[in-house]
Symmetry: C2
Subunit: 259 residues, 2 copies
DNA sequence: CGAAGGGTTGATCAATTTCAATCGCGGTGG
DNA sequence: CCACCGCGATTGAAATTGATCAACCCTTCG
């Protein structure tokens, strides 16, 4: 049963439930528990911190709506974004085991975020193996994504880096059912892209121009259009393996530029 | 009870047990279980793969001896190292949940590596809360380390990157009781450093020269000497927070360039 | 209407790669 | 024992990428 049909049938709109049920088969009781756990959400404004570096880790955050990022400010004042969080994404399951956050988490757009307390989380993972399995898979994917970022920053040229990030975000958005046809919203300023890719905003601008003129993609004021998926994937040297759409025992087909 | 005294008393030399008991208080039964689980080790030669990209994930690897790394080869043939593994380090607890490895793991030096089967691992984590807790903390630290790498690659200059990596490795070696006084072994060639830091071997060479001439550190054919810890930390802009030596509830003092 | 925050562009500068040699050490075979 | 080989280390010079500096534009929002 596909995610889409499942959502349609039960009319569920919670991105977290949708994402997790795409990673592991969930019982009805499990989806209910997840929905209950994320029913109290708080709203954050763009640029508002969910938690700051140095803070004591608290509950597990779950993004229900909008975008956020993990980031770190260096002594010199420059910023590095280490991950984008989109609807359905949850923050470190076990972060509470350490004394202090080693990075901050900040809303990029206005965002709706649920906070699941540690005990509630623990209980859910003990009681519901499907939930627990899905969360571990999600975490593995997040780790793979981090490794892919390291590869990008280390060994890809600036244009490859930008293209690669866009491919990643495109697939992640697709996976959670966000609109990705034609021109669609991608709420990342050139400044944010620069902070994520370790470049200057000026250079991001030039690279975007290059990608636009190459007919690969066009990003304009928060809206992205993928003009030629094959070309984009080719520029990026993108290999979707690390997003682990093939989870053990189930197999799916590649989706981006699949001819 | 400190790690050192504990090891002395029971005359234990297993790096895995030593590392985990530094992260969480372990019962005697827990350390025995860990030792039993890692008693069958296999020897790998330098440059031999423990597992390759695309392979199906198998058991959990535990490095008992020597060094290894996670790496990925790009289409163009260049290589990016995403993590160094040293004695006591274990590979992804839940990696078996995905169908294929998105990166390879390779021995850097000759290495002794234990493989713990999935069922054995699961049982141990179910039966021994201390072990389970220590493993989760270890994983959190690994993730923090990856984020720190992203920050380095994105926002630090080449000399800062090199200095930062050395600081990290120094502390990690200290944490597991490897020798770090005077001139000690650091079995990383300039080529490996280049692959880890996203630079060319040529440039690594020049940066190492610069660090040597600045009187911060000297790396010569596999042997490192830290000439001036304070200077090195300063160059790196190193903040050891992310290694989470302060685990919740217990507090320790900084060790590198402290006093 | 004015200010602020992105976005865009050109010119110049600096860091890093690339290319090309050479060196040095450890191991191996004669 | 010694010459040779191979890999890693080292150095110089030229080429390239991306950063920096400095405007200016455009849209949004109070």
């Amino acid at each position: 049963m596909s995610v889409v049909s499942w959502c349609k049938r039960d009319n569920v709109s919670n991105a977290f439930v949708q994402k997790l049920s795409g990673l592991s088969t969930l019982e009805r009781s499990e989806t209910s528990a997840l929905e209950a756990a994320t029913s109290h959400a708080r709203r954050y404004r763009a640029k508002q911190d969910l938690i700051r570096e140095g803070d004591e880790p608290g509950p597990v955050f779950v993004i229900l709506n909008g975008w956020a990022c993990r980031y770190k400010i260096l002594p010199g004042g420059s910023r590095q974004i280490m991950a984008f969080l989109m609807p359905g994404d949850a923050c470190d399951l076990h972060m509470n085991m350490v004394a202090a956050m080693d990075h901050g988490i900040q809303a990029i757009t206005e965002a709706k975020v649920a906070a699941i307390s540690r005990p509630a989380m623990d209980q859910m993972m003990r009681e519901f193996p499907g939930v627990s399995r899905a969360l571990y898979i999600a975490q593995l994917i997040d780790e793979g994504t981090m490794r892919a970022w390291i590869v990008s920053m280390g060994r890809r040229s600036s244009i490859e880096r930008v293209a690669h990030l866009i491919c990643e975000l495109y697939l992640r958005m697709r996976n959670i059912g966000l609109r990705t046809e034609g021109v669609f919203a991608l709420p990342l300023s050139q400044i944010i892209l620069a902070d994520a890719l370790g470049m200057t905003p000026v250079h991001i601008n030039r690279v975007l121009k290059e990608l636009r003129e190459a007919g690969a993609m066009a990003l304009k004021r928060g809206h992205l259009e993928i003009l030629d998926p094959v070309k984009l994937v080719h520029i990026a040297g993108f290999d979707e393996n690390y997003l682990h759409r093939r989870i053990s025992q189930s197999t799916r087909k590649p989706e981006l530029a699949g001819q």
